[in-house]
Amino acid sequence: MASSPVPNRTTHLGETQRRDAWWLELLPIIILFGGFGIYATARAFEGKFYEWGPYLSPFYSPLLSFSWWRFSPALLILGAPLGFRTTCYYYRKAYYRAFFLDPPACTVGEPGFRKNYSGERRFPFILQNVHRYFLYLAILFLCFLWYDAIRAFVFDGKFGIGLGTLIMLLDVCLLTAYTFSCHSLRHIVGGKLDCFSCATFGVPRHSAWSLVSVLNERHMIFAWASLVSVGATDFYIRMLASGAFKDIRIL
């Protein structure tokens, strides 16, 4: 038998008995989220190269133009998708861990200077409770994005398919999956009921709840896939609009 020091029960950042590289799980989140944040901000302020032929960048859809607005049109609309993702139950987990280190990982110590933890009970994080309103906006935005994706099949008044068409279609499918796997939607369509068999429209609501529940299990995957696809779609259209790429016509 040999003795080693008493376990330290005070918390400081990174304190843990874990043996694995717990910080590795933070890296993809920091890289993807941080990278997307920088790219999306730059593109939102750029205010050009967002349209090419029948393609419209998702950062600029719906395209609003007002004579009194002198800045990038993306700045008029980006609050809605940004709010939806920021208040998303999955992303909350990801960024509370990766950026707020609250906690950085399970059973890993947090920064010791935080004395008055209030979670989501006080401003600003109490605003996470408005997630369902961003969901309603996200569903509205999806209608515009589906319209854009369908319009991307029309080249000079004729049916056609370009690589951009397929990218936009994939993007809107992933965004639809992300939006319809939302925890708030799961609650609204049926989760709020205690008794499906006694409620008005209880049976269809149970079916809707079950369907959203299946999607909801993959909410994290849809969240990341749709984030990447939005960035990639915008990037492709930007490259076309700036003349760096040529669109590949399939049909």
Binding site: V6, R92, G119, F196
Partner: protein, 243 residues
């Protein structure tokens, strides 16, 4: 079979130290077997709480290499044996002796939750669709690993104002029960501090019964709190309907 080196916390509420023990490995051995071997051959005074040894009673919870685990369900061959296996008591609760912690705080929280109260004149018949959700919550074995891993208790020590994942699961089971008549939403928001939870999902990761604590209990309860306190449209509809 080679030996394993276990580094086990020995002490009480006033402090203690980690002590190394060499334990001969046996096929299929779990951490609890190794602790029993220490008790039998080296330190008969080592305190370990255990009962069923079948991952169903929730007694033998501890931290193995920094991860909250049931020691009876943690196989030695799943751990790296080239380094000491560190076994510590649950960090969120006061130590009584060695690996035994005082979890009585949990029973105090439990008593705050109003029990099931049927709707008046209820017909005691339930549709399977209505109880599927609730049945998942009944799997809980009260091992309190989720309570231990939750940073609101573990790091922030909000024992006075927070219920913890285990009791959100229990409350969800009651709130979603098709025949129950009591609303526990004000309790969840106020006394049980549901808003402290920032849904980092550690509770779900450690649950030995694989209950989807965050997705199926905590988030649905948070949404019910939003219905009641933060959604003006739902509040208005409720007012119009007089419910």
């Amino acid at each position: 079979m080679p030996d394993a080196l276990l580094r086990v916390f020995r002490g009480d509420k006033d402090g203690g130290q980690s002590v190394d023990y060499k334990v001969p490995l046996a096929p299929g051995m779990v951490v609890l077997d190794a602790l029993h071997s220490i008790q039998a051959h080296q330190s008969p005074d080592l305190a370990v709480r255990w009962n069923c040894k079948a991952a169903k009673c929730g007694s033998c919870s501890a931290e193995v290499n920094g991860r909250p685990r049931l020691t009876c369900k943690t196989r030695m061959d799943s751990l790296p044996l080239d380094q000491p296996i560190v076994v510590s008591p649950l960090k969120a609760f006061p130590v009584i002796k060695d690996l035994v912690t005082d979890v009585s705080w949990n029973y105090k929280v439990n008593r705050k939750i109003p029990a099931f109260k049927p709707k008046p004149g209820v017909e005691w018949k339930m549709d399977q669709r209505d109880v599927d959700r609730v049945q998942e919550f009944r799997k809980c074995i009260e091992c309190f690993l989720c309570q231990n891993v939750c940073h609101v208790l573990r790091d922030h020590g909000k024992h006075e104002s927070f219920g913890g994942p285990r009791f959100f699961v229990r409350t969800a089971g009651l709130e979603m029960h098709p025949l129950d008549s009591v609303s526990r939403i004000p309790l969840l928001k106020n006394e049980m501090g549901l808003g402290y939870c920032n849904i980092t999902k550690c509770c779900t990761e450690v649950c030995p019964e694989e209950i989807h604590i965050t997705d199926n209990a905590i988030i649905p309860l948070k949404e019910r709190v939003v219905d009641e306190y933060y959604d003006p449209v739902t509040m208005l509809f409720r007012k119009i309907r007089g419910s």
